[in-house]
């Protein structure tokens, strides 16, 4: 550690815990002197009008309170001590802010064996300009939509909701980007799969028709005589509300319930859905005894699977054990890069239902039918 920084920190700690005015005064002299010699820029930062005014205000408040309780003389001593203590703390903070950067933190955390925490800090620091820009944009849009500054402040929950959701999206993108870059320090893939077959990733927003599309793909492949294995997960809907999911074996057409909506946080894996073992059993059966040359259809892989749970072990086994010809996987948009990383797929076609040109069913069918068996 920088000796000047170490000395200032020691002095700041001493000043914080000493009640003797002489000690605090000596600390202030040492802190200011060291900052002046070692880092004049830091010293100038302390002399900003706002900070000086804040310190003077705090000292005046302390003086007034103590003078009222114990007399003016004592009040002046305590007020002076507060002012000096704030000078020490302000100087130390300025020197710390100028001496320590993200690289140093990364190096320290790395030496301490806390590389992940260092990367989290680094991601947080890198995200700050983006978050600041977003906050300003979201606030401007919210103000215009609300018809003025005060009306916008009254609709504060709506603003908070948008900002928090955007932060969540950035976090998802950061995770995806980290996965694509192979940031193994943040999260390691226990057993990386090597998927050499053509992989079609079907994605799109909620309600865009991913499951009906895959059902049509299964039907079309069947008409063309291409063997298909795997499962579909159609939603259970009631009055337009999603109450849960069923799971259907595409080979046998057997259907059971997989998940049902419960109170938030009450479900397995901490989610809003309770999962049924029968559903996972059917999933396992659907991914067992696959005929050679089949196209494997998986609708869908979610966060549970990408954490290694749910259907993931069965998918892993199927991809390793059978000579499949192609793979069709449904996944939500934010998970696409994570999925590609998890499968380590070399030949990938992404079909986004909101952006696809032409008939999506034909596109998927043509991508996987007539392919060669490449995995052994």
């Amino acid at each position: 550690m920088n000796p000047a920084l170490a000395l200032i920190l020691a002095v700041a700690i001493g000043a914080s815990f000493s009640s003797r005015v002489e000690v605090v005064a000596a600390s202030a002299v040492v802190a200011c002197g060291v900052a002046w010699i070692a880092d004049r820029g830091a010293f100038r930062r302390v002399l900003r009008a706002g900070l000086v005014l804040g310190a003077v205000f705090a000292a005046a408040a302390a003086t007034a309170a103590v003078a009222w309780a114990s007399g003016l003389d004592r009040g002046l001593v305590i007020g002076g001590t507060v002012l000096l203590r704030l000078v020490v703390l302000g100087t130390a903070a300025a020197v710390v802010a100028r001496s320590v950067d993200a690289e140093k933190i990364l190096s320290v955390t790395s030496r301490l064996g806390m590389e992940r925490l260092g990367l989290v800090f680094s991601l947080a620091v890198n995200a700050l300009p983006h978050l600041s820009e977003t906050t300003s944009t979201v606030w401007a849009a919210h103000r215009v939509r609300s018809g003025g500054r005060w009306a916008a402040l009254r609709r504060f929950p709506a603003l908070a909701e948008v900002l928090l959701a955007h932060t969540g999206r950035v976090a998802d993108q950061a995770a995806a980007a980290a996965a694509l870059r192979g940031h193994r320090a943040l999260g390691r893939i226990a057993t990386p799969l090597v998927t050499r077959v053509r992989t079609v990733v079907v994605t799109g927003p909620t309600g865009s028709g991913k499951t009906p599309l895959v059902a049509s793909v299964v039907e079309e492949l069947g008409k063309r005589g291409v063997p298909v294995a795997g499962f579909l997960q159609p939603a259970i809907l009631e009055d337009g509300k999603k109450l849960g999911f069923r799971i259907q074996n595409v080979t046998t057409d057997e259907v059971v319930e997989l998940a049902r909506r419960v109170a938030p946080g009450d479900g397995k894996f901490g989610m809003s859905f309770a999962f049924f073992d029968e559903g996972f059993d059917l999933g396992r059966r659907a991914l067992r005894d696959i005929a050679p040359g089949s196209v494997l259809v998986i609708d869908e892989l979610g966060p549970v699977e990408l954490r290694g749970g749910g259907h993931w072990p069965a998918v892993e086994r199927a991809l390793k054990s059978f000579d499949i010809c192609g793979l069709v996987v449904v996944v939500r948009r934010t998970l696409v890069p994570v999925l590609v990383e998890a499968l380590d797929a070399a030949d990938v076609v992404v079909v986004d239902l909101e952006e696809v040109d032409g008939d999506a069913v034909t596109k998927v069918v043509e991508a996987v039918s007539g392919c060669q068996v490449k995995q052994s």
Partner: protein, 187 residues
């Protein structure tokens, strides 16, 4: 595979909280706005509850808290112990709330502890910065103004802050539910 999202969510929500502490927190502090501790406490509570609802894992809130402290250290208030202690206590409170309870009750419990300890923490900070005499004098002065003993003044502040924390926790839970729906939660 291990999902990276708990780490990135903790980093981003911690960054959001840290950035708000460094900007809005400093502005409220310099403006001497009343209940600034409670306002910043509520902001932190919303960030943490939302994070915990999006990534329901033990420890994720602690990582976000450490991140917020890390960012706060880089501001001028970095060595001023109040906000740093506040962030640490709030983080532990929310984590504790979600370990011992579930749903809105967990959020309310986290809010009660996080904001209820705010006045106590402020007295401790005042003691560190100003010394015992000034802190006691302020409590005595407030008490004498209202004609009650200092400990009852402190208890009153704690009760008020805890009530705000309970309501804030439930509100944060509902708000985070809307955020989860907006992000398209599902299996």
């Amino acid at each position: 595979m291990k999902d990276l999202r708990p780490w990135t969510h903790a980093a981003l929500y911690g960054a959001l909280w840290g950035a708000l502490e460094a900007t809005a927190g400093t502005a409220l502090h310099l403006g001497r706005v009343p209940f600034r501790g409670e306002i910043m406490g509520l902001i932190g509570l919303v960030c943490l509850v939302c994070l915990r609802r999006l990534q329901p894992r033990v420890g994720v809130v602690l990582v976000a808290g450490v991140t917020a402290i890390f960012l706060k250290i880089f501001t001028h208030g970095g060595l001023y112990p109040g906000p740093l202690v506040g962030i640490a206590i709030q983080t532990l409170a929310v984590e504790f709330g979600f370990i011992v309870a579930r749903g809105p009750v967990a959020a309310a419990l986290g809010g009660i502890i996080a904001l209820g300890t705010n006045p106590v923490q402020r007295v401790i900070t005042a003691w560190i910065v100003s010394g015992t005499e000034a802190a006691t004098a302020v409590l005595r002065a407030v008490g004498e103004l209202g004609g009650v003993e200092a400990r009852w003044v402190l208890a009153g502040f704690v009760g008020l802050a805890a009530s705000i924390g309970a309501l804030g926790g439930v509100w944060a839970w509902r708000l985070s539910g809307r955020v989860v729906r907006r992000l398209g939660g599902g299996p």
